[in-house]
Amino acid sequence: MDRNKDRRILVCCGTGCLANNSYNVYLKFKERLSEDAEIEVKPIMKSTGCNGLCEKGPVVKILPDEISYFKVTVDDVGEIVEKTIKNFETVDRLLYYDTNSGKRIKSHKEASFYKGQLKIALRNIGEINPLSIEDYMERGGYKALKKALDMKPEDIIREVELSGLRGRGGAGFPTGVKWRTCSEYKDQPKYVVCNGDEGDPGAFMDRSIMEGDPNTVIEGMIICGYAIGAHRGFLYIRDEYELALKNVRAAIDNAREKGFLGKNILNSGFDFDLEIVRGGGAFVCGESSALMASIEGNVGEPRAKYIRSVERGLWDKPTVLNNVETWANIPPIIINGWKWFKSIGTEGNYGTKVFSLVGKVKNTGLVEVPMGTTLRQLVYDIGGGIINNRPFKAVQTGGPSGGCIPKEHLDIPLDFDSLKAIGSMMGSGGVIVMDDTTCMVDVARYYMNFLAEESCGKCTTCREGIRTMLHILTNITEGKGEMEDIELLKEIAETVMEASLCGLGKSAPNPVLTTLEYFKDEYIEHIADKRCASGVCKNLTSYYIDENKCIGCTICSKNCPVGAISGRLKEVHVIDEDRCIKCGTCAIKCPRGAVRIGGMKVEA
């Protein structure tokens, strides 16, 4: 009997792996397998969505062996076919290397990156071909819809309400309450909207879901339409997400073919259909009222939300808008029931959250963990700790609307309420890890720079406030800061937070306020000492060699890209500050840590 029966090879074709040539790996497998006469029953090849550990891509999984290979190149395919497919042996060098234990692991399920995870929203990604609705249905897809169509709309809403699901886009508003309020308004037509305008730099959770499992979002939206009495839905997808747009379009077509969308869905008498609206390259369109304005054909300017969108939203009609990840959670809640969902997570913060763990962490990628997992667990157990084992400095959550979390809060549980309590916010799930080579003043400046162009520009406080804060922060990073600037920064930040019209403006000062709170000493050092200890603000950085530590090994001068270091073997080396371009290579290469960072060069 051919042991290849029921065998599957899954090649990750999420954007991250694609950029690393995974599609050619997929093609090479197909080629090798079709040519090979020895293999009678060919394993089924699938190209899947993101597996999460993008750092180590391309990722190839072999089932039912439960073998996962990482960083697979086209040249490795031959060996994998010979050893694994034909002889059921592992190619050890391609197995996951667990940095914490120092061992190679066969099945990725054992890997510390994956062990702490619990996949609900991401349950299918990496296991199915997103273009195949049959794959989705094989794993239970559209069962929730069938069940829902047999339920009463109020019961569906009740189920979602009792589950305690809160919006995964950042605000954490109770989803069930939103649906209930909307269902109570009788104005027609009603609309269901998916916010796929993921704009936080460093966040790619929604992209992965839209690319890797678009049907879970579609199913969630149809169920909501039925529950609140809406017959039309829109998926607003960010313009830059080509693959997501392609896969969602295909999934909608597939769903229509199967009768899950369109008229009289599954003979229930319920009509519902979906349309994709492409974003235009505007971060502010992630704000719900701006998003709706954009769908209507206007510029993406938010409105004051004294009247909620559930009452008057798209075209002034009752609208439920939810984030991609929120929609992805609906089918499992309907199938498994609210009690199951509520058993995961912490009090008031139920279920899981998908995080994109990026920055200076060893295992960068996408993870889904129960709410309440601590930051330490996320960064160290799952993330494997900081690259080169450098000291942890802070984590930025919530993107430009969020705040930084310093070392002292490493044990904070990751959930809506805990993060809010310390002045940060969960946001959409981007977690950017920073070490001692990150300058927190520069981080604040970076976000203000981002927001300066992304703000819609409608209200005075956001537009002028951000512009002024950017001006002040730029001054500080260039060595032109004065001590009064700190007070001024804080004053403006607080007004922007209180007086701005929409969420973007109101939360824009968060990076500034949190860095000021936890890293005030860095600000002071930049202003008073004119020095950037992380070596990021070039004007405030000068490198010099500590003559007491230098052993004259010449490693620094050999690696200097501009030949700015002079010194003979075994003699103390010297950096020519005029030639130095402050790249920091010498500091990294020095085996004795003899290269130090001084402040702004003072004219003699």
Partner: protein, 155 residues
């Protein structure tokens, strides 16, 4: 050239909500939105030109100026920023002698600094047309640009 945009515009119903979609199709086909296209669209949809112009200048996916043969997008997302995208950007701009948003003199390259592309694990990322270049370094910049220049030289 004019036929291209008329065709695109007529492919849509005369409803305001398709403004952005139409403009994006024109942008994709043409590389930018010509003034005549905007004026034609204004007539077609029955909307003031100033309205269309507002939309065209608000959304960064749309451009009113022609672009180079190859569009280089430098990701300025946080993950890329921390991993040194600033240096990559400076190197690129210096090499081509232009500022962000501009096109090189030989019309070969346009450089845009864009928001997070979502490929954060490969930071810093540069995208040229549809090709992703991950883990970019200062040295790689020159070799990649040279590759494209060579292609153009060999037709």
């Amino acid at each position: 050239m004019s036929f291209v945009y008329e065709e695109i515009i007529h492919g849509y119903p005369k409803e305001k909500r398709y403004t952005l979609a139409i403009l994006q199709d024109i942008q994709k086909r043409n590389g930018f939105i010509p003034r005549e296209a905007m004026e034609y669209l204004s007539q077609y949809l029955g909307l003031p030109v100033s309205n269309i112009y507002s939309i065209a200048t608000f959304y960064k996916a749309l451009s009113l100026k022609p672009k180079g043969k190859h569009i280089i997008k430098v990701c300025s997302g946080t993950a890329c920023h921390i991993r040194g995208s600033g240096t990559i950007k400076e190197e690129l701009l210096e090499l081509l002698g232009i500022k962000p948003g501009e096109t090189s003199e030989d019309g070969l390259f346009s450089v845009e600094v864009v928001n997070c592309l979502g490929a954060c694990a490969l930071a810093p990322v540069v995208v040229i047309d549809d090709k992703y270049y991950g883990n970019m370094t200062k040295d790689k910049v020159k070799s990649v640009i040279d590759q494209y220049k060579e292609e153009r030289a060999h037709g």
